[in-house]
């Protein structure tokens, strides 16, 4: 190649067409649009949302059709009846209509799930953020504590705590309905045993995010620490928190069901899907499947829906994949 050839000026030809933005690049998409589009593609997540809404409607809307008095009304003449037109889910061991009890039980189960998850998120985020941001002694202490809780399998811990607090809190009357004090107990102990999981996630996020430049910038401009944590870093780590919180609801509902099933959870007079199952296994031989099938199915259904939802959220919120 000679230099002269390299220097041939190529006159810009006036015939070159102007390219529109579309032809060059795809239009810029905001995070919200990307998230929504990905979520929508996830058919299972949509299914999860729909069935979740339906179940919640069933539990809370159902109380417009069935009174609580009816749910608690027991008639020993009709114990252990097969599902029929009058009692679509059958009757239980003391003659109460199971359908009605699943409606009111559902309210409590969902309530427990949500509240325990909220408690778990609040504590977990707080501890995780402090641990991750400050490091040092605070981190060491909190992490030891976290590990301690995580080392004991949750059920054992819950059972011990349920026994410890059991019967100590009186019944509460709220909005005209009476709730067993054990509801509060369950919410608190589930929250107290579930936060470590979330705290670890949040801590990891904070550890990596706090090295970013926007944190440095915030510090340099004199932003107070709590603002840095809550207004700057936290919003950036929202994705795993949302996913963990969603799955936390399912987890809480499941745990409540386990504990109540074992008799140490929510006590009478309050019904939950879990304690409806209590002792159902003693009647298996008599073929009384409706005692456990309907509440059990409801639990499976709601946990399944939340799992789908959580899965979809996880895919949708993963900032790493830019493909729509």
């Amino acid at each position: 190649m000679t230099e002269s050839q390299m220097d041939i000026p190529l006159e810009p030809s006036p015939k070159i067409p102007q390219l529109s933005a579309d032809e060059i690049e795809s239009p810029p998409l905001t995070l919200a649009t990307l998230t929504w589009r990905r979520f929508r593609r996830h058919k299972m997540a949509i299914f999860g949302v729909i069935s979740l809404v339906l179940i919640v409607l069933y539990a809370y809307g159902g109380s417009f059709f069935v009174s609580e008095k009816y749910a608690n009304h027991n008639d020993t003449k009709i114990i252990l009846q097969y599902p029929s037109a009058k009692h679509p889910f059958g009757t239980d061991t003391i003659g109460r209509d199971i359908l009605a009890r699943t409606i009111y039980g559902g309210q409590i189960s969902v309530l427990i799930g949500l509240t325990a998850a909220i408690l778990e998120v609040v504590i977990g985020v707080l501890f995780g953020a402090l641990s991750g941001y400050f490091g040092g002694l605070i981190d060491a202490l909190l992490m030891r504590f976290t590990e301690a809780i995580l080392t004991i399998p949750t059920i054992f811990l819950l059972l011990v705590m349920a026994k410890y607090f059991g019967g100590k809190i009186p019944n509460i009357t709220f909005l005209g309905r009476t709730y067993s004090g054990s509801v509060v107990v369950i919410i608190v102990i589930i929250g107290l045993t579930s936060w470590p999981y979330l705290a670890r996630i949040v801590r990891a996020e904070f550890l990596s995010l706090k090295e970013n430049e926007f944190v440095l910038a915030a510090r340099a401009t004199g932003t107070p620490t709590w603002q840095i944590i809550f207004r700057h870093i936290l919003p950036n780590s929202i994705a795993p928190i949302v996913v963990a919180a969603t799955l936390g609801v399912a987890n809480a509902i499941t745990l409540e069901a386990y504990i109540s099933f074992l008799g140490l959870g929510v006590r009478a007079p309050t019904a939950t899907w879990g304690n409806l199952l209590q002792g159902a296994y003693s009647y298996i031989d008599k073929g009384a499947y409706w005692l456990w099938l309907f509440p059990g199915l409801l639990i499976v259904l709601i946990v399944l829906s939340i799992n789908f939802l959580g899965d979809g959220l996880r895919d949708a919120l993963d900032p790493r994949s830019r493909t729509v």
Binding site: A148, I155, L262
Partner: protein, 344 residues
């Protein structure tokens, strides 16, 4: 490597102390141990007081914890209530292997109580775990190789439903189908209660048959979630560059899947499974209650309900130690299996 192990063990010790302290405090308020002791509340005041002093229940919690930990044979307790301690204690403390005696099974050492039931639970757990590992590998690999096929979709849906089920649901459904319905249809039904039929005695075949339903209930859920996990790691491994290289070398498909891909896909699973094993004990609690299986889970529930602190603490500490040990084993196993860690 040895330094790493030692460091981890050293870290574990304060952890275990912390756990034991927290649990001990919780257990104090659980119920009235005196009621447990003799089945009914002892009527005579002197008896109550004597028992209280004997069990050390009159001392502050921190002292009780201390006695639990290191025994009281180095000090004297006041047995006759005159305010002067004169009888030497007989407990050696947990650190010397003495977990005390059960309050419910009077006088029986905790270790003996647990040892009677432990093998039964271990039997269930080990068999269940084996089933889970083998099953989830088969299902997971198959699913990954037939991605998006009808079978894969069915398996995926089943897995999702499976791991959304609480154990009692699986167990009850299993009982219902395999015991009640089978009986109705004249098929041989599976037993649902206990470890063996008292009339037949504790033979191997009896135990095996009685094990089927509990093991199945425990394994089903974990199988569902692990098979999905394995499917995920296999798919990821199969999409890696080194699989493309293996293909370009003309290696047979089997070799590519089971050597090149699988060896890589296995690694994270070792961690997950290893850490889960001690938690299988939790599932055992519910399963043993439903199937009346004489294992540790049931032991725990029974003694917890009666406020038998020594036994409950014994079980809990054993589990905590098991978890810590398994975590360590898993870490070591992973480090050993992954050549990137093993060789610098």
């Amino acid at each position: 490597m040895t330094r790493y192990i030692i460091r981890r063990l050293l870290q574990a010790i304060p952890l275990l102390f912390l756990i034991s302290l927290v649990l001990f405090v919780l257990m104090q308020n659980v119920s009235d141990p005196l009621a447990t002791l003799s089945g009914r509340t002892p009527t005579r005041k002197e008896d109550r007081e004597r028992l209280t002093r004997q069990l050390g229940l009159d001392k502050p919690i921190i002292v009780q914890y201390l006695y639990w930990l290191i025994g009281n044979d180095w000090t004297k307790i006041d047995m006759n209530g005159d305010g002067v301690a004169e009888t030497p204690g007989i407990r050696k403390g947990v650190l010397r292997g003495d977990f005390g005696t059960s309050m419910w099974n009077r006088g029986v050492p905790v270790t003996k109580v647990i040892a009677q039931r432990l093998p039964n639970t271990l039997l269930l757990m080990v068999v269940a775990e084996l089933l889970i590992i083998i099953g989830s590998f088969i299902v997971g690999i198959y699913s990954a190789l037939r991605q998006y096929s009808l079978v894969d979709n069915i398996l995926t849906a089943t897995s999702f439903i499976g791991y959304s089920m609480p154990i009692f649901f699986t167990a009850l459904a299993a009982i219902y189908i395999f015991a009640v319905y089978f009986k109705r249809w004249g098929l041989p039904s599976l037993p649902t209660v206990g470890m063996f039929d008292p009339q037949e005695g504790k033979t191997t075949s009896q135990v095996l048959v009685h094990m089927i339903l509990p093991v199945f209930s425990m394994a089903f859920i974990s199988l569902a979630s692990y098979s999905r996990y394995i499917r995920g790691t296999m798919l990821e491994a199969m999409s890696q560059d080194y699989v493309r290289t293996a293909k370009s070398k003309g290696l047979p498909r089997r070799q590519i899947i089971f050597v090149h891909a699988l060896k890589n896909a296995c690694l994270p699973i070792v961690t997950v499974i290893g850490l889960e094993i001690p938690f299988l004990l939790g599932g055992a609690v519910v399963t043993e209650r439903i199937f009346a299986w004489p294992g540790m889970g049931r032991l725990f529930l029974d003694h917890l309900e009666r406020g038998d602190t020594p036994v409950v603490m014994g079980i809990l500490m054993m589990i905590a130690v098991a978890v810590v040990v398994f975590q360590l084993i898993t870490d070591i196993a992973y480090a050993w299996l992954d050549p990137r860690i093993r060789y610098k």
